[in-house]
C-alpha cells in the first residue's frame, strides 16, 4: 500500500512537470506580453529593459527552469497584467471556483446516482421515459446555452435568482465563502446546475446501464432466491457492484468540473480562477496561465489518486492482489 502510494506520487510529479513544460512552451506563441504591457509609444530601450526585468531575454530552458524552481517554493511569479503575485490572485479567486465545483459535483453525484438507479429499477415507468429524454438534452446542449437559458427563465422572467456574481460573501481566514449568506446560496444555484448538468446526465446514464447489467447477474438472482428484501438486493448488492466502474469515470469527470468551470464562470461573471484565466489569456499573462494549468493538473492528479484509493475501499479483490504483489 505504501509502495503503491509512493509510486503514484512519483507519477504525479512527472505528470505535473510535463503539464508545466507543455503549457509554458505553448504560451510563448500566444503573443508578446511586453507589447500589451508597455503600450504603443514605448521605445525599444523601454521594451528591452522590461524584457530583462521579467527575464524574457533569457533562453526558453532557463525561463522554464526558473519558473519550476520558484514554483517548487510556492512562488508562481508576478502577474504581467495585474502586477501582483499570481499566488495571491489565485488564492483570492480559488474559493469561488472550489465552492462552485464542489456544489456541482454533489449535484451531479446525488441526482446522477439517484436517477440512474431509479431509471434502472423502474424501466417502464413514465418518469423514466421523461428523465431519459431530458437527459439527452443535458448531454447534447452546450454549457453556455444551458446557462443563458437558465438565466433567461429564472432571472429575467421569473426573477427568482440572481443572474451573475457570488452575492454577499463571508471571509473566514483566507477563504471567502458564499455558503453562509442567503444571497450567496441563491447565487450558487444557477451556476451549479449549469456546471453540473452535463456530468449529472453522464453519471445517470452510466449508473443506469451498469445497474441494468448487474441486475442480470447470477448473484442478484441468487440474492432474490435467498428471499432478501428488494431494498437489500437493490441497494446492498446491486448498487455497490454498480459503483465500481462508475467510480473511475466519475473521478475523471469531477476533475473536469474544475476545468470546465471556465465557461460557466464566464456566463455567470463568477469571480473564480476560470474567469481569471480568460482575462489572462487576453493579455498574454504567461505566469498566470501556466499556474492555472498547473492547478488544474494538480486537481486531476489528486482526484485520480483518490479514485485509486476508493477502489481499495470498495473492492476486496484488489486488496488481496495488492498484498500479493507486495509480498
Amino acid at each position: 500500500m505504501l509502495a503503491f502510494l509512493i509510486r503514484r506520487v512519483f507519477q504525479a510529479v512527472i505528470v505535473m512537470l510535463t503539464v508545466a513544460f507543455i503549457s509554458f512552451s505553448l504560451f510563448r506563441f500566444v503573443g508578446d506580453p511586453i507589447s500589451t504591457m508597455v503600450g504603443q509609444d514605448a521605445t525599444i530601450a523601454d521594451r528591452q529593459a522590461m524584457a530583462r526585468e521579467l527575464g524574457l531575454d533569457q533562453p526558453f530552458i532557463v525561463q522554464f527552469w526558473r519558473f519550476i524552481a520558484k514554483a517548487v517554493q510556492g512562488e508562481f511569479g508576478i502577474s504581467y497584467r495585474v502586477g501582483r503575485p499570481v499566488m495571491d490572485l489565485i488564492q483570492e479567486r480559488l474559493p469561488a471556483t472550489l465552492e462552485l465545483a464542489f456544489c456541482a459535483a454533489i449535484f451531479a453525484l446525488v441526482f446522477g446516482i439517484f436517477f440512474g438507479v431509479y431509471t434502472a429499477l423502474r424501466r417502464d415507468s413514465w418518469l423514466t421515459k421523461v428523465v431519459m429524454t431530458v437527459s439527452l438534452i443535458g448531454v447534447s446542449l452546450p454549457t453556455f446555452l444551458i446557462g443563458i437559458g437558465l438565466i433567461y427563465l429564472f432571472s429575467v422572467e421569473l426573477k427568482w435568482l440572481p443572474s451573475f456574481g457570488r452575492g454577499e460573501t463571508v471571509k473566514i481566514g483566507g477563504w471567502t465563502t458564499g455558503f453562509l449568506t442567503e444571497s450567496g446560496l441563491k447565487s450558487l444555484i444557477l451556476p451549479t446546475i449549469t456546471l453540473g448538468l452535463f456530468q449529472m446526465t453522464l453519471i445517470m446514464r452510466l449508473v443506469r446501464s451498469e445497474m441494468l447489467e448487474v441486475l442480470r447477474t447470477d448473484y442478484i438472482k441468487f440474492a432474490r432466491a435467498r428471499g432478501l428484501s428488494d431494498r437489500a438486493v437493490h441497494f446492498g448488492h446491486a448498487l455497490k457492484n454498480t459503483l465500481i466502474p462508475v467510480i473511475t469515470i466519475m473521478g475523471i469527470k469531477l476533475g473536469a468540473l474544475v476545468a470546465f468551470a471556465i465557461i460557466t464562470e464566464t456566463v455567470f461573471q463568477w469571480p473564480g480562477v476560470g474567469f481569471l484565466f480568460i482575462s489572462s489569456v487576453q493579455s498574454v499573462d504567461v505566469p498566470m496561465m501556466a499556474s492555472y494549468l498547473l492547478l488544474v493538473a494538480l486537481f486531476f492528479v489528486i482526484v485520480n489518486l483518490t479514485v485509486d484509493l476508493a477502489y481499495f475501499a470498495v473492492d476486496p479483490r484488489l486488496r488481496i492482489s495488492a498484498v500479493a504483489t507486495r509480498g
Binding site: 448473484y219 441468487f222 432466491a225 457492484n241 470498495v314 488481496i320
Partner: protein, 326 residues
C-alpha cells in the same frame, strides 16, 4: 396425493413475444413428498430450469405462469403477492444455481452473505447468526469454518464456493431445495462430493429436493423419483429405478440408450434422430412424434395424457407394458 409437500399442477409457463405467446412449459404436473428427491431431466431447452424458476417465483419477464398452480404445504404460492412470496423464498424454498463462480456477490464476505440471509428469515441477533453461519459452513464440509467466514468468495475454489452456495440455500432450513444443475459447472472430480453434500444434508434435515440436471448419472445416484421432460412437457415420471432400468416412453428409451455403459462393451450408442422442436414449432399431438419410430397416426393428432404403466406414469399412446421394451 394428500401427503404431498409441494404440488405442481398443469403448470404452463409462457413468454409473451410480438408474434404471440411461446409456451416453454406446457401442462407440467408433479408432486413432491417431504424429504423426497425428484430429478427433472431433459435436453437443454426442455423447460426443466424454467419449471424450477416458476416454482420459486423467479421467472424473468416476459416469462410468466400462464396457467396451473403451485401448492406448498396446502397453500397456493404462485398467486401470492410479491412480498409474501419473498418470505417463502429462502425460508421455505431454497435454491442452488448452476455456476458457483457467479452466484456469490464478490464484494461481501461469505459470512456477511450468510448472516444476512439468516437474519432475513430467522429472529436471531448478529452473534447467533454468526454462530449459525459457522455451523452451516461446517455442515457443508468447509474446513476451518470460523476462520473462512471472513473470506471473500474469490478466495474459495469452485467446489468450495458451491458448498457455500448450498449453505446459503439451506440457511433457513427450507422444506424444499431446488438445485438447478448444481454440478454442471464443476470439475468431474468435485461433482460427486457436491452431490453427496447436498444429498446427505437434505436427508439429515428432511428437506425435499428438486434436482434439475441433464446428467442421468447424478439422477441415478441421488433421486428417488425422476421426471423426464421433452419440449416443455413431462413425458414420463416414476421411481428412478424403473425409469432407468425399464423406460416406457420412446423418448426415455432413446435417452437411456444414449448413455454409455461401461460394461456394455463396444456397442454403438443409440442416437435419437432429429432435434427437439423450437418453441414456435411444436408439433400437433405428441411433441415427440416426428422423431418417434413407434409413432402412429393418432400421435400426430391427439396429445397423449398421462397413463399409469407399471410403476411409472407415461404420456404416450403407443407404449405398452414393460415387456414391449427390448
Amino acid at each position: 396425493m394428500g401427503d404431498a409437500l409441494l404440488e405442481v399442477k398443469d403448470l404452463v409457463v409462457e413468454f409473451k413475444t410480438r408474434r404471440g405467446a411461446l409456451r416453454a412449459v406446457d401442462g407440467v404436473s408433479f408432486a413432491l413428498k417431504p424429504g423426497e428427491v425428484l430429478g427433472l431431466v431433459g435436453e437443454s431447452g426442455a423447460g426443466k430450469s424454467l419449471t424450477g424458476a416458476a416454482v420459486i417465483g423467479l421467472l424473468e419477464p416476459p416469462g410468466h405462469i400462464a396457467a396451473g398452480s403451485v401448492t406448498l404445504g396446502g397453500e397456493r404460492i404462485d398467486t401470492l403477492p410479491r412480498e409474501a412470496m419473498r418470505k417463502v423464498r429462502g425460508k421455505r424454498i431454497g435454491m442452488v444455481f448452476q455456476d458457483p463462480l457467479t452466484s456469490l456477490n464478490p464484494l461481501y464476505t461469505v459470512g456477511e452473505q450468510l448472516t444476512e440471509t439468516i437474519r432475513t428469515h430467522l429472529p436471531v441477533n448478529q452473534a447467533e447468526a454468526r454462530q449459525r453461519a459457522i455451523d452451516l459452513l461446517n455442515d457443508v464440509g468447509i474446513p476451518a469454518a470460523s476462520r473462512r467466514l471472513d473470506s471473500y468468495p474469490h478466495e474459495f475454489s469452485g467446489g468450495m464456493r458451491q458448498r457455500v452456495v448450498i449453505a446459503l440455500a439451506l440457511a433457513a432450513e427450507p422444506e424444499v431445495v431446488i438445485a438447478d444443475e448444481p454440478t454442471t459447472a464443476l470439475d468431474v472430480s468435485v461433482q460427486a462430493q457436491i452431490i453427496s453434500v447436498l444429498k446427505n444434508l437434505c436427508t439429515e434435515k428432511g428437506t425435499a429436493v428438486i434436482l434439475v440436471t441433464h446428467d442421468m448419472g447424478v439422477i441415478a445416484e441421488t433421486a428417488d423419483r425422476v421426471a423426464v421432460m421433452y419440449a416443455g412437457r413431462i413425458v414420463e415420471i416414476g421411481p428412478v429405478r424403473d425409469v432407468i432400468k425399464q423406460p416406457v416412453h420412446p423418448y426415455t428409451m432413446g435417452l437411456m440408450g444414449s448413455i454409455p455403459d461401461p460394461q456394455g462393451g463396444a456397442e454403438r450408442l443409440v442416437q435419437i434422430p432429429g432435434a427437439m422442436p423450437r418453441l414456435n414449432a411444436i408439433p400437433v399431438g405428441c411433441a415427440f412424434n416426428p422423431r418417434c419410430q413407434m409413432a402412429i397416426d393418432r400421435c400426430r393428432v391427439e396429445r397423449p395424457t398421462m397413463r399409469r404403466i407399471g410403476a411409472t406414469d407415461v404420456a404416450c399412446h403407443v407404449a405398452g407394458p414393460a415387456e414391449t421394451t427390448p
